[in-house]
């Protein structure tokens, strides 16, 4: 194809650099998928702010760079959540660090690098849970993902400790692509922590896609904590399919991030499912934190509950877009969504858009979106009782988002997030 304009030239340069840096993508094991995604990347334009789903989030700063790939030596302990009792799988710039990782081995459960699992032919349905053909960035992930975590939990199995996936972005100008695949079989229960961090002087682009299949009566719980220093562009996608009587919970806590785009996509395919999406974000300076969620109720008798709370400071930008589809067959759906924000300065921006599309008539659905200022009267009240201004603001910030963080079941992780929150509210 002939390159026709500057935008295409930049895209070609971007893809060319990635082709050179990632010559052995995971999807090599699935040639057709790899070719399809490469084809899409070439033929479809990359999303711009003219694309509705990317209206407030610029991708040009990612696409206009020629990324490379290097894997520096990094001590994971310096970044990991303290005192966390978990199986830990460490990635640096997308590459698995076996010597810094531990994983369980037992009958009925498999936890291993996705590359190994794919090569052994153990992954059923790889790439099928995600990759809507028009999602350019998901195709990008498919074309270049170098590794990830594969978890298969057999029928009625449970792992006594959570699986903790730690991704560290380090060095300069490095792109990193991870792809995870979780399959929770009937009646099984899986608890995953996804933690992404970066060196203070790191500059990078990190793309991560998680595919999840939650079978009948099974449960998948994900705590996703993003705390990247430095200048990292992170695009994180979850695609989860729920079978009947299953539970899926995900909590996204974005403590820090230069540019973060989260896309949660939940397909509720079976009846009597419960889906819970909670999130909080607290951008400062010029950070840009974007949460897009989609819950697709396709069948009757399911419930979803979604609460996102944000505090936007300085010149930062927050974006929330929550889509809920209730299909014609999805009678008796109970869907609740709430997005509440506090804007701390005149320069901070928050774009909040609930989108409910309801085609069934016997449902209970509600949504609410509020964006307001910090209550200065409350700050004064607390100061008038002897609290310093800093303590007063911390207390109020904490009070606003605490319902999201306090509900983290794991003590070590909750403490880590509370500490991050305190650092944030000190500004």
């Amino acid at each position: 194809m002939e390159v026709v304009n500057a935008t295409d030239q930049k895209k070609e340069a971007f893809l060319g650099a990635l082709d050179a840096a990632f010559q052995q993508p995971l999807a090599s094991a699935k040639g057709a998928l790899l070719n399809a995604s490469r084809e899409t990347l070439r033929t479809q334009p990359a999303p711009t702010t003219r694309t509705e789903a990317w209206k407030y989030t610029r991708t040009t700063r990612i696409i206009n760079q020629a990324w490379s790939h290097a894997v520096p030596t990094v001590d994971a302990d310096a970044f990991a959540v303290n005192d966390l009792d978990a199986w830990r799988l460490v990635f640096v710039n997308g590459v698995f660090q076996a010597e810094q990782s531990t994983w369980p081995e037992a009958e009925g459960l498999t936890v291993k690098p996705l590359r190994v699992a794919l090569e052994a032919g153990e992954v059923e349905g790889f790439g099928e849970k995600s990759n809507t053909p028009d999602e350019w960035f998901e195709n990008l992930n498919m074309a270049y993902a170098s590794d990830g975590v594969f978890i298969h939990l057999g029928k009625n199995k449970q792992i006594e400790k959570p699986i903790y996936i730690l991704h560290i972005t380090a060095g300069e100008q490095s792109a990193a692509f991870n792809r995870h695949f979780f399959h929770v079989a009937q009646g099984a229960q899986l608890n995953v922590i996804q933690h992404s961090v970066a060196d203070a002087d790191a500059e990078g682009f990190y793309s991560v896609v998680t595919e999840g299949a939650v079978d009948a009566n099974a449960s998948l719980h994900i705590d996703k904590v993003q705390n990247e220093a430095g200048k990292v562009f992170q695009h994180a996608v979850e695609w989860v399919h729920q079978d009947r009587d299953s539970k899926f919970d995900i909590r996204t806590v974005t403590l820090r991030g230069h540019w973060v785009r989260n896309n949660l996509n939940i397909a509720v395919n079976g009846e009597n499912c419960s889906t819970r999406l909670y999130g909080t974000y607290m951008p400062i300076e010029k950070e840009h934190l974007d949460n897009h969620t989609m819950v697709d109720h396709r069948v009757p008798h399911c419930e979803s509950d979604e609460v996102y709370k944000g505090i936007v400071n300085d010149k930062a930008t927050g974006v929330f877009n929550g889509k809920v589809f209730v299909r014609q067959d999805a009678q008796k759906t109970n869907a609740f969504q709430q997005n509440a924000n506090i804007i701390l300065t005149d320069d901070a921006q928050m774009y909040s858009k609930p989108e409910l599309e309801i085609y069934a008539d016997d449902v209970k659905c509600s949504h609410g979106s509020t964006t307001g200022q910090f209550d200065e009267e409350a700050v004064f009240y607390l100061r008038a009782r002897g609290l310093s201004e800093q303590s007063a603001r911390e207390l109020l910030v904490y009070a606003f988002v605490s319902e999201i963080i306090e509900a983290i079941g794991n003590d070590a992780l909750r403490n880590y997030c509370l500490e991050g929150l305190t650092k944030r509210s000190r500004g």
Partner: protein, 250 residues
Amino acid sequence: MLKIKNLHASVEGNEILRGLNLEVKPGEVHAIMGPNGSGKSTLASVLAGNEDYEVTEGAVDFEGKDLLDLGTEDRAREGLFLAFQYPVEIPGVSNINFLRAALNEIRKYHGEEPYSASEFLKRVKEKSALVELDGKLANRSVNEGFSGGEKKRNEIFQMAMLEPKLAILDETDSGLDIDALKVVAQGVNAMRSPNRSFVVITHYQRLLDYIVPDVVHVLYKGRIVKSGPKELALELEAKGYDWIKEEVTA
């Protein structure tokens, strides 16, 4: 205790206080009355350090310190307490946790050790009984869902916990029924001591039946235009403020 000299203050360019003078000695209770818009609540806000108000002239000495030079929290730490006319509801912040934090910050300011959990709880129990504040309210979010009377009792409860040298009660009696008023007054009276002073801002003489003042002042157009013994309050109640206005303009 408190010496206010020629205090001028404005909000959004409008001068509200126009040369106010007031001296409160240790152990005294001063009532400040006055018609709507005379500057009563402005005085309370300025003393507490509300930055919406700009002090353009004058001085305030509190226990030998320049009060206007101190931030809101340092005024509280030095022993000034304001019972708010409209206590703020603060969802998610527990009454008890915030009070513990406040008390300990005050103690730290004075170079004292923080309270232990048991000392603190003992104090909570004792002081909440003083204003008949339900223990459950003490544990709830600050003022959230409290009735008007509960909010005012919570203010007095906080005052009892913080044991200030000078308490300013800004229309603490407004909107209270007589039973609630008695409870509030009882809390205040229990705290009266030779070393503690009160400035009671009120619209109604009724409160002064229960909290008996040493001096009553009339605030009008941003200045204290008349001061007298407690009987002055009764006279104001009976005759309204028009005669004062006439006296001032005469």
